[in-house]
């Protein structure tokens, strides 16, 4: 995305608040200009007090009254400007976050699977914040800064042209100095942040796995690696921090030269012109000279911030403008009373074009049949589930439920007709009850308890301090893996959808509890089309159809007996369980 496009989009967001924006800009202009008038008034005031007995108190109080008015108006303008800016910033951030989140809910699974959660989260949180701070604050600072500079110049020229020229000529030097230092230190900073990243990675890995480290007596090696990086980081940091910290003293020095120049030229002019330039005006020029350089230094800071903000905005827009999943057809069918027949015809699928995974898969499932998917670790069993739930779309062929292509029905009605328990348990933030009723929000207390009893989750939930109202945090720390899996099973037992997908649904539950749940599963599967991924052959043996997968391909298909007769891969797998 080019910077210009990004800025256009940013303006589009801000344009919703154009009223506030204009108000803010007007107020910024007012406060910047009035702030400039004050030194003039102060100078005038000083001119009223020349020497002993030569003080014009009447004139002085007039000026003081004017100063008080200026101060009053300025602070009101400043407050309104600040409030407007806050309002714009926070609201734009809210709008962008809302859009980003809406997009997350509509992104195809392939995008989410391919991007680490942390990366997307950092776009929605950190990037948006940085964008808002940098862009909006930077924008107003830039605006007031430029206004102040122009205003100062105009006012100074009005007081005295020669003296002002000195200021105009010397000030850019401070900018050059700042730019020069920034350029020279850029490489040092990069080295510092690279080395720091290297160290953070090491810390993350080593401390994060401290137990493994100790188990392998690897502590000394780790310390050696750490000390080496730490030493390099110390050197790099010292250089980066020191050289960049020379900016302020250097520009301050240039500013003091400007100040001296004004003092010299100014006082010479006062003498030469015999008072056409007054002492009060000189003091006013001096305080302008002091102020004039400040916005320059700020602006150079603002520009880097703006660049950063635009980069952040680019990353956010990339997410917001990512292609959403294929929208549902307008005449998409809503499934009712699903019987549970499934037909896969010539299905072809691959995650990446170069490596085809599923080729020409044909499968007909009658309502109520049980399909087991077996194969060694990592053979792509979950791919099939991704296709059935339409998390991914097939590349070729079609999948039909009750005779309707799943691409012609609403995602909601397809997905809610499946009950899914995955090996990787996921519970949302909320209470245990919230999690159980996900598939049936209007469930009664009796139904919830009955489902929990069937899944053997009731006994442990009851023993928790807050029972069904126990809040599960983000990392679900209080529950064991097995307990979480039980809750996921309860969720499905309560919803009782017409079709089931069980992907290693009991992998974390100890076998004695599992055998008890199996009975409940068996009852639940009665009359429901079920897809089961399992290691345990007892579950598999009873399936109507067994799909044997290997390296992403379906190599065998049939029932237990016919597959054993084939004496192929399935037979080998089955027998290995009893091998010694």
């Amino acid at each position: 995305m080019r910077n210009r496009d990004i800025i256009k989009k940013v303006l589009h967001y801000i344009s919703r608040y154009w009223g506030l924006l204009i108000l803010s800009l007007v107020m910024a202009a007012v406060s910047a200009l009035l702030a400039l008038v004050l030194p003039i008034l102060t100078g005038d005031a000083i001119d009223m007090i020349v020497a002993k007995g030569q003080v014009d108190f009447d004139g002085l109080s007039k000026i003081i009254n004017r100063m008080l008015t200026v101060i009053g108006v300025t602070i009101i303008a400043q407050y309104i400007m600040n409030t407007c800016n806050n309002k714009i910033t926070f609201d734009v951030v809210r709008d962008i976050r809302r859009e980003a989140f809406d997009k997350i809910e509509r992104l195809p699974l392939s995008y989410i699977d391919a991007h680490p959660a942390g990366e997307i989260v950092s776009r929605v949180i950190a990037d948006v914040d940085q964008f808002a701070d940098g862009l909006l604050m930077g924008f107003t600072q830039l605006f007031t800064g430029v206004l102040t500079i122009i205003g100062t110049l105009v006012l100074m020229f009005r007081i005295n042209v020669q003296v002002t020229l000195i200021v105009v000529l010397i000030t850019p030097v401070s900018l050059f100095v700042a730019a020069f230092i920034a350029k020279k230190t850029y490489d040092m900073f990069r080295l510092q942040s690279e080395t720091r990243a290297e160290q953070t990675t090491l810390i993350d890995e080593m401390i994060g796995n401290e137990k493994v480290l100790q188990a392998f007596s690897y502590e000394d090696d780790a310390m050696e690696q750490f000390d080496e990086i730490n030493g390099r980081l110390q050197k790099a940091s010292l250089r980066a921090i020191f050289f960049s910290s020379t900016t302020n003293p250097s520009t301050r020095f240039v500013n003091s030269l400007v100040y001296t120049g004004v003092a010299l030229a100014g006082s010479m002019t006062v003498i030469a012109t015999g008072g056409a330039l007054t002492v009060g005006q000189l003091s006013c020029l001096l305080s302008y000279a002091n102020q004039y350089t400040k916005p320059f230094n700020e602006i150079s800071g603002v520009i880097t911030e703006l660049q950063n903000a635009i980069a952040c905005a680019g990353r956010i827009f990339e997410l917001i403008e990512e292609d959403p999943q294929i929208p549902e057809a307008e005449n998409a069918v809503t499934l009712h009373d699903v019987r549970g027949s499934l037909k896969l015809e010539h299905v072809g699928f691959s995650y990446v074009p170069e490596r085809s995974l599923i080729e020409d898969l044909n499968l007909t499932v009658k309502p109520g049949q049980r399909i087991a998917i077996v194969g060694p670790t990592g053979c792509g069993k979950t791919t099939l589930i991704n296709l059935l739930m339409r998390f991914y779309d097939v590349n070729e062929g079609s999948i039909a439920v009750d005779g309707t292509d799943i691409r012609e029905m609403t995602r909601k009605s397809l997905r809610t007709s499946f009950g899914m328990v995955l090996q990787e348990t996921w519970l949302m933030n909320g209470t245990i009850r919230d999690n159980i009723i996900m598939g049936k929000p209007d469930a009664t207390e009796e139904e919830i308890v009955a489902a929990a009893k069937a899944s053997h989750a009731h006994s442990f939930i009851r023993r928790l301090e807050h029972g069904y109202d126990t809040v599960i945090g983000e990392n679900e720390g209080t529950l064991s893996q097995g307990q979480k899996q039980l809750i996921c099973i309860t969720r499905v037992m309560l919803a009782l959808p017409p079709m089931l997908i069980l992907d290693e649904a009991t992998s974390s539950i100890d076998t004695r509890t599992e055998i008890k749940i199996q009975n409940a599963f068996a009852r639940m599967m009665q009359g429901r089309t079920s897809f089961i991924v399992a290691h345990r052959l007892s579950t598999i043996r009873e399936a109507d159809i067994i799909l044997v997968m290997r390296d992403g391909h379906i190599v065998e298909q049939g029932n237990h007996e016919s597959l054993l007769e084939q004496d192929g891969f399935y037979a080998k797998l089955y027998n290995s369980q009893f091998e010694t």
Partner: protein, 580 residues
């Protein structure tokens, strides 16, 4: 914080010289307005151009000295801050290496990583800023006031009023907003965790078609955030207008009082200009000081957290025994072992007796939370027993030096972690100088050779952090191989074949038994199939031994074992026979 002071040692010179030079610079800065007074009152009043030039040269000289002083100060502060933090970091890293598992559990790894990274970074900038500004800013504020008093006491009274008033406004707003910013952070965390949850739980949310609901929940969190932000914003928006008003009203007051003094002939016009200059200097420094205080408060909090970790002492004392152990003793012997974890209310293991002859195979079985992992963790002395003794090769584990003990043992934990690098570098964790031949042999036994050979670069194939580019089953096999490279006397597989299917699991066990000089093998598992052929099986229930013997013996004598076995095998065994 105090505990960390010792890491400044060796940087004493820098810590004193840094602030000192900063102070010098500030003093020269304070002299400038006095020089301007001379220019106005002497140079201009008497029309003495040579005098003015002289004064301007003095100003340039003051500027140069100031520049040199401040560069020196920046260098010393940077050196001290960077050196200090590098040392703290090193000390912390080394300290953590010496902690035992109990302490690691108590602190938590993510906490340790935060201490090592962001906390120390904040501490470093805190120290750097403190050395640079902590003396300078108050010095300028009070210096300006004192200089004002030397000019004229009556006019300088204004400073005595303005400085406290400004402080009240600046620090009052800070005090009000800091706790509110904490609330903003909490609200932002909510937004963040909602976003993260929707990415990690995307399959479940879509399976239940909860997208719209999630959007409205996000909206609520988003809205709350904006609400708090706006509240804080409206308070901090007061800062600029209020300080602006105070300073400028102060200047008016100063001019007026000055006017009275000038009228009476007590002070000159030039001195009024100087007073106004001093007043303008104060504001900038007070704001700098306020920011400094925020940074320092944060840094002190970080320092507190860091020294908190440094103060934690290892609860275990390393033994001195370096020898191989008694040759004809049991490989491992538990006598009446009990352990209660820190902060736990109950014993995790109680009264365990177990004698393991060299080269034999022990199975450890039991439900989740029955103490299996705890038991094997006692062998390499990851935790200390609270009662009884654990002996390895006839010697109490407490008497060994850690390395002497742990080098004998290869342990493959439940969660297999690999480290950034190559397959080879990971394999060499066990044995630094392991040859490719040794590594390939280990990979073969661990059933990993096949997929490693398929990787580009084979042993040089890259491993991403945590081994993310390998599947769970592959990671487990690589972790097993890593332990085998060590050629350990004792090999512990802590449920480390859980992601492997039965066939691979069986092949693995077979290969280990067929090694020449096979290690004493501990198999921890929930599967009876994995340990049916062990020389002895220990059945654990709730931390106590429920049975000990061979598979056949246990089937007869141990009810718990029989139940576990039946839950896994009964049906299959029958089914198998029926099909045979």
């Amino acid at each position: 914080m105090k505990a960390l002071f010792k890491y400044f040692k060796g940087y004493g010179k820098e810590c004193i010289l840094g602030p000192l030079f900063k102070l010098l610079e500030a003093s020269f800065e304070l002299l400038i307005p006095l020089v301007v007074v001379q220019i106005i009152d002497v140079g201009i009043a008497e029309g003495d151009k040579a005098y003015i030039v002289k004064m301007c040269l003095i100003m340039v000289a003051l500027g140069i000295i100031g520049l040199v002083c401040s560069l020196t100060a920046q260098f010393f502060s940077a050196k001290a801050a960077v050196g200090f933090s590098a040392r703290v970091k090193q000390a912390l890293f080394h300290h953590i290496q010496g902690l035992s598992y109990s302490e690691i559990d108590t602190i938590g790894t993510s906490t340790m990583v935060t201490r090592m990274t962001s906390d120390i970074n904040q501490l470093q900038s805190g120290v750097n800023l403190t050395l640079r500004l902590f003396l300078r800013s108050p010095f300028i504020v009070f210096g300006a006031m004192i200089m004002a008093f030397t000019i004229n006491v009556k006019a300088a009274i204004v400073f005595v009023v303005v400085i406290p008033l400004l402080s009240v406004v600046v620090y009052g707003i800070m005090l009000l907003t800091i706790p509110m910013y904490r609330k903003v952070q909490n609200a932002l965390d909510q937004v963040l965790s909602r976003t993260r949850a929707n990415l990690t739980g995307v399959r479940v949310i879509r399976a239940f078609s909860k997208e719209e609901e999630e959007i409205s929940r996000f909206e609520k969190a988003n809205h709350e955030l904006v609400g708090i932000q706006t509240a804080v914003g409206s308070i901090s928006a007061l800062m600029n207008p209020l300080t602006f008003a105070i300073i400028n009203v102060g200047i008016i007051w100063l001019v007026y009082r000055g006017a009275v003094q000038v009228d009476q002939g007590i002070i000159t016009q030039g001195e009024v200009v100087a007073l106004v200059n001093y007043m303008s200097q104060i504001l900038i420094e007070l704001i700098k000081l306020a920011n400094l205080i925020i940074t320092v408060t944060k840094a002190v909090a970080c320092a507190g957290r860091i020294s908190g970790v440094l103060q934690i002492q290892s609860s275990m004392e390393e033994g001195a025994y370096d020898d191989k152990g008694v040759s004809d003793a049991f490989a491992v012997e538990f006598s009446d072992v009990s352990i209660r974890y820190r902060n736990a209310s109950e014993e995790s293991l109680q009264g365990i007796h177990l004698k393991v002859p060299k080269g034999s195979v022990v199975g450890i079985i039991g439900g989740t939370g029955s103490g299996k992992t705890t038991l094997v963790n006692l062998i390499p002395r990851f935790y200390d027993v609270t009662k009884g003794t654990v002996r390895v090769d006839g010697v109490d584990v407490k008497e060994y030096r850690y390395h002497a003990l742990r080098d004998k043992i290869g342990i493959v934990p439940q969660k297999s972690v690999l480290f950034t690098g190559t397959i080879r570098s990971n394999m060499q964790w066990g044995k630094k100088d392991a040859t490719d031949e040794e590594i390939m042999k280990a990979l073969e036994i661990a059933q990993a050779k096949e997929f490693v050979l398929q990787k580009d670069g084979v042993l040089d194939a890259e491993v991403a952090q945590g081994g993310k580019n390998f599947s769970g089953g592959q990671r487990q096999r690589l972790a097993i191989a890593r332990a085998l490279v060590k050629r350990p006397k004792i090999l512990i597989l802590d449920d480390s074949a859980s992601a492997l299917d039965y066939a691979t699991d069986a092949a693995l066990r077979k290969a280990i038994r067929e090694m020449e000089d096979p290690p004493t093998l501990f198999i921890v598992s929930q599967r009876t199939a994995s340990m049916m052929h062990a020389d002895q099986i220990l059945v654990l229930e709730d931390g106590e031994a429920a049975g000990l013997g061979t598979h056949e013996e246990l089937l007869k004598t141990c009810e718990v074992y029989k139940e576990i076995y039946d839950s896994q095998f009964k049906k299959e065994a029958k089914g198998g026979e029926a099909n045979a």
